[in-house]
Subunit: 410 residues, 2 copies
């Protein structure tokens, strides 16, 4: 059997461990020189590949340098948001496969969320249709943790650890003054509230801040929210509330849309503020107390400061597992995580393979039964689910400039 | 000589190392049992002290627990923003000193910024006026680095390291797509731009992102800003700009005030957005490119994730130095930092003492000669000044919950 080449790409938003998944794929690929000749990377995903931008990992990150990927957030290869056409008759498909053939590609890996799994689905179906022997495998990635048919996704654990630890620090900050105050923390998640729910991990004891957590899975009632805060002042003069950016009311209107009344800037463009800023103003106006909002923003997905060692190791394992499966002939699958809880309650994770067609374009919400107190909190079941995923600290090496030393594409 | 008690308080906004200063004062106080009986803490500063809320450190944080302060951000003792009356004839002064006498206080320490040094100034002047033997010492603290007569302030180094490292991560995040984009990062600092300037430390080579840095020390010109970005696209399709929250134009109008036109929320209250959000909208409207803004917000001052070991150790040293000085009879002084650069260029810091009356209510801006490129960048002199202050990583211990384990007041 003649040797072939492997190619891997990254797609969608960055995470803290998308490059750990990449490390898993590349290092496993390089470990089979009898089967795999070159390990290539697509620069800027399938879109960049179409434009001919690829790199060879043995040149780009030779030897020990490759390992730098495991503590580098972002997307080393760059990313894209490019949806392949629905019709497999579209001329882009033969074009792509001709390019694969020119590069002698035998294995294609795509690291991403459900949109990226759509790419994996289409390429694997086109390969099957045309009798191509290219193996196409999806590697999961998303801080949103909303992929179906997997216990969780790489990227979620580190983002959850960042959220929990940052919220814990924000609580410390908010509680220094003995004056009534409300702090609204806005966390990423338009449709799924997994990451916002992780703020519950910041609590040190039941009843601790954050006193309320609101997810997009249930309708948000502004009056009930205000009443909750008013009641909470009986227990704590500093109230911290965590909200998902995607919270909406029972009519489906996003809470952030309520600041439409705020109108337009001096150029006639609508000023867009998040729901945190809106709720901050609501609290200040209606309750007459000091209010502040904090949008955690992109650091949730791009910070290496709170890397979860569990998340990092699982991302690497998923990358390696996918390569081994592809070498065994598997195609059209996404690597999944299967949780095994031992008799002593300890957490173990194994990798599995799921049909990518059943995953792409689907979303997994937080289960309704895990959302309690009229939609203002999450249950102990959520804590038990999420806690193992944020364990372990990763030591990120520092450079001479005293800052984390990441690896960069030339 | 009969033994006396020491009391220490914290005031103003939190920092990552205000509790390290506290550790320095308390540990040094406890190291002199021949002179000092109890080491007390004021809960919520001088305001809390007036209300009778104090604690005894040997009960609150016995033995090794005290050391937990050195990696706990926030303000362990709680804080206040309470300005003592200008007139030393005000009845609050005899009231305070009667309370000091009842507690047999011999040494009074206050950790804070220039407002807090005002408290130190007034108490020390009242003590001198009335012949009280209480020694009153100020311990510097502010992320703003704007105290005069000291090379820098505890709290700045860790905040600068947080800003530089977070901006480096935001750059990674912003550069994953090959599409023109502008990211505005808004950094704390209403009057002094030291912290915003620290974003320059994120660069890996000259010309790297952040491509522009705007401080409140010079007037901000919106048209020049837009022209700079337009020109920068020639070099880099992803442009990151760092701005101080307090930037203003040549008429003295804060840039964030320009969104006044945005008007009021549905309750008739003005919606307040930062200058970052305003500039994001300006860029999107005028240049027609993808724009995003990130407000670093309170994490700049309350995160332990990027503690600078240099900053932490200096804060502890300043605390200890102040106690030794007070035991030597010094009063009415603030502990200052004096930089010594060795022949080999290496950085050394020693503690000094400065008249607190010359420090309170003054502000130290970034020198004009360190601000270059028509107010859009900082010079190499700033880098040389700031770089030693962000060196060294502090390992923050984690609890069983996988999150940083801080110490808390009961």
């Amino acid at each position: 059997m003649s040797k072939k080449n492997l190619i891997v790409g990254q797609s969608g938003g960055p995470t803290a461990v998308i490059n750990s998944s990449l490390y898993g794929v590349v290092s496993e690929g390089l470990a089979h020189p009898d089967l795999i000749d070159h390990v290539y990377g697509m620069v800027n995903g399938i879109e960049g590949f179409l434009n001919g931008t690829i790199l060879d990992f043995q040149e780009a990150l030779p030897g020990e340098k490759l390992k730098g990927l495991t503590h580098t957030p972002g997307a080393y290869l760059g990313s894209c948001r490019y949806k392949l056409p629905e019709s497999l008759e579209d001329p882009v498909y033969p074009l792509l496969f001709r390019k694969f053939e020119e590069l002698n590609i035998g294995w294609f890996f795509y690291i991403g969320g459900n949109d990226s799994m759509d790419t994996v689905s289409k390429l694997s179906r086109y390969a099957a249709m045309t009798g191509s022997e290219i193996r196409v495998i999806g590697e999961p990635k998303t801080i949103d943790n909303d992929l179906v048919h997997t216990d969780h996704t790489p990227g979620f654990g580190s983002a959850a650890r960042y959220v929990a630890s940052t919220v814990r620090e924000i609580i410390l900050d908010a509680c220094v003054y003995e004056k009534k105050s409300v702090t609204i923390v806005e966390i990423m998640g338009r449709h799924a509230g997994w990451l916002t729910a992780s703020a519950a991990l910041a609590r040190k004891y039941p009843g601790d801040n954050p006193m309320f957590i609101y997810l997009p899975e249930v309708a948000f009632d502004q009056e009930a929210f205000l009443a909750n805060i008013q009641a909470a002042f009986e227990k704590n003069c500093n109230v911290i509330v965590c909200v998902s950016e995607g919270i909406h009311d029972d009519k489906g209107t996003f809470i952030c849309e309520y600041d439409n009344s705020v109108g337009t800037d001096s150029f006639g463009h609508k000023m867009l503020a998040g729901c945190g800023k809106y709720l901050e103003n609501l609290v200040r106006s209606r309750l007459g107390v000091k209010a502040r909002s904090v949008e955690l923003n992109v650091s949730q997905r791009c910070s290496a400061s709170m890397l979860s060692a569990t998340d990092q190791q699982e991302a690497i394992a998923a990358g390696k597992f996918g390569v081994k499966a592809a070498l065994d002939g598997v195609t059209g699958k996404m690597v999944s995580f299967v949780r095994e809880t031992a008799a002593d309650g300890s957490y173990h994770m194994t990798c599995g393979l799921e049909d990518v067609n059943a995953i792409c374009n689907e979303e997994k919400p937080v289960p309704q039964e895990w959302i309690i107190n009229n939609g203002s909190d999450v249950s102990e079941e959520f804590i038990a689910y999420a806690l193992p995923l944020i364990q372990g600290t990763v030591e990120v090496p520092c450079g001479e400039d005293g800052l984390p030393a990441f690896v960069y594409r030339k």
